[in-house]
C-alpha cells in the first residue's frame, strides 16, 4: 500500500489561512478600537490604553516559545519525528522574534511615558531582551550548514533549552523586586481593582495577537516548504550543470589533440578538477 500523493504546494494561501486571516484582522481592529477608546486611568492617565496591545504581544511571544519547544520535542521523539515539526519550530521562532521585538518596543514606549525612562535593567525587561536574543540565536543556529538531520537535532535541543526562559520571565515580577508592574493576566484570582473595560480590551488583545501569531506561523511553515522546494530545484540544476560539463553532448569528429587522453567512449578527458569553479 502506497502513501497518498500530496499535491505540490505553490502558494501559502488556503481556505483555512483565509478564515484565520480574516479573524485575526477583525480582532486586531477590535483591539485597536477598544484600546484607544479606554478611559484615562487614575494612575497612568491616557497611557493605560497601551494595556490592550502590550500584554497581548508578550503573550504571543510566550506562545511562540511554547510552540517552538513543542515542535522540537515532537521532532526529537522517535515515534512522532517528522520534518513538519522542525519546520513548525523554526517558523514559530521567527514569528516569535517579531512579537518579542514588538513587546520590547511597546514596553519601552510605555516605560518612557510612565517611568520616564526608555529602558532599565529590570528583571522583566532584561529577561524579555534575553528572550529576543535567544530567538535570534536559535534562528542563526538553524542557518549553520549541516545535513538536515543534524541541523534539526541541534535546533530542537536549542529550542527546548531556550523555552526555559519563559516561566522565569513570567514569574520574574514576583521573584524579584522589579519596576515592572505585577502579572496582569494568567492569575488564578484576577484583581478586582482592574476595571472591567480594561480587562475586556486586554482579553480581546490576547485573542487578536494569538490569531495573528497563528496566521503568520501557518504562512511561514508553508513558505518554509516552498523554500525547501526551491533549494531542491537549485540542487538539481547544479547537478545537471555539472554533469553537462563532464559529459560533452557530441563526440569529437576531429583526431585527438596532443595532450588529451582518449577515453573509452571516444571523448577527450582533460585535466580538470571536479568541483573547481570555472
Amino acid at each position: 500500500m502506497t502513501a497518498p500523493v500530496q499535491p505540490v504546494r505553490t502558494s501559502t494561501a488556503s481556505p483555512l489561512s483565509f478564515a484565520l486571516g480574516v479573524a485575526a484582522l477583525v480582532s486586531l481592529g477590535a483591539t485597536v478600537a477598544l484600546g484607544l477608546a479606554l478611559p484615562p486611568s487614575v494612575e497612568q492617565q491616557d497611557y493605560s490604553r497601551l494595556v490592550a496591545i502590550h500584554p497581548g504581544l508578550a503573550w504571543a511571544s510566550y506562545v511562540a516559545f511554547g510552540i517552538t519547544a513543542l515542535g522540537s520535542l515532537l521532532w526529537l521523539w522517535p515515534r512522532t519525528r517528522h520534518e513538519r515539526w522542525d519546520l513548525l519550530a523554526g517558523a514559530s521562532a521567527e514569528v516569535g522574534a517579531v512579537f518579542t521585538a514588538l513587546t520590547l518596543a511597546t514596553g519601552s514606549i510605555w516605560g518612557r511615558a510612565v517611568w520616564g525612562v526608555w529602558w532599565v535593567w529590570d528583571a522583566r525587561l532584561t529577561l524579555s531582551a534575553l528572550m529576543l536574543a535567544l530567538l535570534l540565536g536559535y534562528l542563526a543556529l538553524r542557518r549553520v550548514p549541516g545535513d538536515p538531520e543534524t541541523v534539526a537535532r541541534r535546533s530542537a535541543v536549542a529550542g527546548i533549552l531556550a523555552s526555559l526562559v519563559v516561566p522565569v520571565n513570567h514569574f520574574a515580577v514576583e521573584w524579584w523586586n522589579t519596576l515592572h508592574q505585577g502579572r496582569s493576566a494568567l492569575q488564578l484570582t484576577p484583581s478586582k481593582s482592574v476595571d472591567g473595560r480594561f480587562l475586556f480590551a486586554m482579553t480581546i488583545g490576547f485573542l487578536a495577537m494569538t490569531l495573528v501569531y497563528a496566521w503568520l506561523t501557518l504562512h511561514r511553515v508553508r513558505m518554509a516548504r516552498l523554500e525547501q522546494g526551491a533549494a531542491g530545484k537549485d540542487l538539481d540544476q547544479a547537478i545537471a550543470a555539472r554533469r553537462a560539463e563532464t559529459q560533452p553532448a557530441t563526440r569529437p569528429a576531429t583526431p585527438v589533440p596532443s595532450g588529451g587522453v582518449p577515453s573509452p567512449g571516444g571523448t577527450t578527458l582533460r585535466s580538470t578538477t571536479l568541483g573547481s569553479t570555472s
Binding site: 505553490t10 502558494s11 501559502t12 486586531l28 485597536v32 484600546g35 484607544l36 491616557d46 497611557y47 490604553r49 497601551l50 496591545i53 502590550h54 504581544l57 514569528v95 517579531v98 521585538a101 514588538l102 518596543a105 511597546t106 514606549i109 510605555w110 518612557r112 511615558a113 495573528v212 503568520l216 504562512h219 511561514r220 508553508r222 513558505m223 516552498l226 523554500e227 522546494g229 526551491a230 530545484k233
Partner: protein, 34 residues
C-alpha cells in the same frame, strides 16, 4: 497621548511589515523564484 499613538503605530507597522515581507516572498517562491 503621543506615546499611546506611538505604541499602537509601532505594533501595527511591525506586524504589517513582516506580513508584507512574508506574503511577497511566498508569492515569489510560488512562482518559482528565490
Amino acid at each position: 497621548m503621543n506615546y499611546v499613538w506611538a505604541g499602537y503605530s509601532v505594533t501595527l507597522l511591525g506586524l504589517g511589515a513582516y506580513t508584507i515581507w512574508l506574503l511577497r516572498r511566498a508569492r515569489a517562491l510560488g512562482r518559482g523564484g528565490r
